[in-house]
């Protein structure tokens, strides 16, 4: 019964997202393709954060760092005339993984508030690094003249083609995180989240598991960064601003921690609301803020917990 509802939920979700471009094409509203593509890129970032926050209990307040590293990897390589996506994207993912490994190696030894502050501090360092390097635009950021090239296989300047690429990568990421969480590796991660001392006393030191998950999450978010740079054709240090980290975290919490659909639902609701309210008043944050607070108070399990079939088993 439950499995049935889940199947319907995901089928509807995939169908709706896949049919969006032709539908809005008929309605002559191309803006929605841009909006949902952005939603899906952030859903990748949120899904990667969910791996460590939702399943691992690691409240990283610096996840936007990898969005920035992924974005700058594309931007900087493009600046030097290297436009091949085959080069840019692996560099974006690999660099993000390496930085995550380094940040994780230091921060995961700490716990609770200290972990949050250390991850935040590292990301602020990267943010100010982005501001200080004038060559890559400094504070103003830098335009990417040519989007990532994939040997003519796909043209990322075409909004619909890039939409479908993001769609596939997003569902791929969600599925990957789902599989990791249910693997034996994920079980240990979840066990350590619920009771760290107990998982030690049964023979597992959580550190290496957490560090591995942290690195995977960074790598996946680096992919989101590469996509975001191609989406906006522009990179700025704002990719790494701490409010961005907070936004990604909020998507996870609003959508439902430790659920597969949560990050996507959270990204969808947050960004759509943001866009709607911004079109209505420039003080949209005054309205969105209280709405978010209320949603957390009343939907403790997140959106995934109240939509039939969206929750995990």
């Amino acid at each position: 019964m439950r499995a049935h509802a889940q199947l319907i939920f995901w089928a509807v979700l995939v169908a709706a997202l896949a049919l969006l471009p032709p539908v809005v094409g008929v309605l002559h509203e191309p803006f929605y393709v841009e909006l949902v593509r952005r939603v899906m890129i952030f859903a990748i970032a949120a899904a990667s954060l969910n791996l460590i926050l939702g399943y691992g209990g690691l409240v990283s307040f610096g996840h936007a760092a990898y969005l920035g590293i992924g974005g700058y990897a594309v931007g900087i390589l493009s600046f030097y005339g290297m436009n091949s996506g085959w080069l840019q994207w692996p560099v974006a993912i690999g660099a993000s993984a390496l930085v995550a490994l380094a940040i994780g190696a230091v921060s995961i030894r700490a716990s609770g508030m200290y972990f949050i502050m250390i991850t935040l501090a590292f990301t602020q360092m990267l943010y100010y690094l982005g501001i200080s390097i004038e060559e890559f635009g400094g504070d103003d950021g830098m335009r990417i003249k040519t989007r990532s090239q994939f040997s003519g296989l796909i043209d990322l300047a075409d909004p619909v083609a890039s939409y479908y690429l993001v769609l596939v990568l997003m569902f791929g990421t969600i599925y990957l995180v789902h599989r990791i969480a249910r693997s034996r590796f994920g079980m240990v991660l979840r066990a350590a989240k619920s009771n760290e001392a107990r998982s030690r006393a049964i023979g597992f030191s959580p550190y290496s598991y957490r560090l591995c998950a942290f690195t995977i999450a960074g790598a996946l978010c680096g992919l989101a960064g590469a996509l975001l740079a191609n989406h906006t054709a522009y990179i700025t240090p704002d990719f790494m601003h701490w409010t961005r980290s907070g936004e990604i975290m909020f998507m996870v919490i609003l959508g439902g921690v430790a659920s597969s659909a949560g990050p996507l639902l959270g990204a969808l609701v947050l960004l759509v609301f943001e866009t709607l309210l911004a079109g209505w008043t420039e003080h949209w944050q005054v309205i969105l803020g209280p709405l978010l607070v209320l949603s957390v108070i009343f939907f403790r399990t997140g959106l995934a917990g109240i939509i039939p079939g969206a929750g995990d088993e």
């Binding site: 034996r184 079980m187 240990v188 979840r190 066990a191 989240k193 619920s194 009771n195 001392a197 107990r198 998982s199 030690r200 006393a201 049964i202 023979g203 597992f204 030191s205 430790a258 088993e313």
Partner: protein, 233 residues
């Protein structure tokens, strides 16, 4: 198999253990007895390295294990079923069993899901339920199963029947007897003297952080003074 000598442990300034000594031979079932607050659980936590011991010797298979982090002690082959069960609520029954399973000692007949379900048939039906959806008895069985899945050579049961209905307690005791006949060494903390004197080979009575009496089941049954003075029965 396990030898504890002169174990001293303190929480901050308040010392709890004042030189606890006892030992367990392979295949034996041994109990730690005593009223609440006498240091039974602290002894177990000191062995496991959860609480650091100040002084004394803890040897497992002739190797010193005092001062090792708890996951190393567990990896050496000691499986703890902690007081309060402490199963993972966000994992299913099956996941609780599989997540930390290991066969580090290279047992020729390792524990499997099948064997655990065979020992506790009630868990088989509930293998998809989450840890927090189980009854107290089921949680206890799961906690024992989880420890067995690490293929320990010494199993430590801290109050494994506390707060359970008599019928469920009987189930647990039966399973412990079965584990004993399969040759597993077991250290038990429990309050049910009647059941323990049937199951266990030896007993150690703790009083204010010291072993004040030790002997076999026959000696304990015949010693009303010890039972009255230290165990309150």
């Amino acid at each position: 198999m396990l030898r504890v000598e002169g174990l001293e442990t303190a929480y901050g300034l308040s010392q709890v253990l004042f030189g606890v000594s006892f030992s367990i031979e392979a295949g034996q079932v041994v109990t730690l007895l005593g009223r609440n607050g006498m240091g039974k659980t602290t002894t177990v936590l000191s062995i496991m390295g959860v609480v650091p011991a100040r002084r004394g010797t803890i040897e497992f298979d002739g190797k010193p294990i005092r001062g090792l982090p708890s996951y190393r002690v567990a990896q050496a082959g000691i499986g703890l079923v902690p007081e309060g069960r402490q199963i993972f609520p966000n994992l299913t029954v099956r996941e609780n069993l599989v997540a930390t399973a290991a066969n580090r000692g290279g047992s020729s007949d390792p524990w499997t899901l099948e064997r655990v379900f065979d020992l506790f048939p009630g868990l088989r039906e509930r293998h998809r339920s989450f840890g927090n959806q189980l009854s107290g008895g089921e949680q206890q069985m799961l906690a024992i199963g989880r420890a067995l899945m690490t293929n320990p050579r010494l199993l430590i049961l801290d109050e494994a029947t506390e707060g359970l209905a008599p019928l469920i307690q009987a189930d647990i005791y039966r399973s412990i007897v079965r584990l004993k006949t399969e040759g597993l060494s077991i250290l038990m903390i429990d309050k049910n003297l009647k059941a323990l004197s049937v199951i266990a080979d030896g007993h150690y009575v703790l009083e204010k952080g010291r072993v004040v009496w030790s002997g076999d089941s026959a000696a304990l049954s015949g010693n009303d003074e010890v039972k009255h003075k230290y165990l309150g029965v």
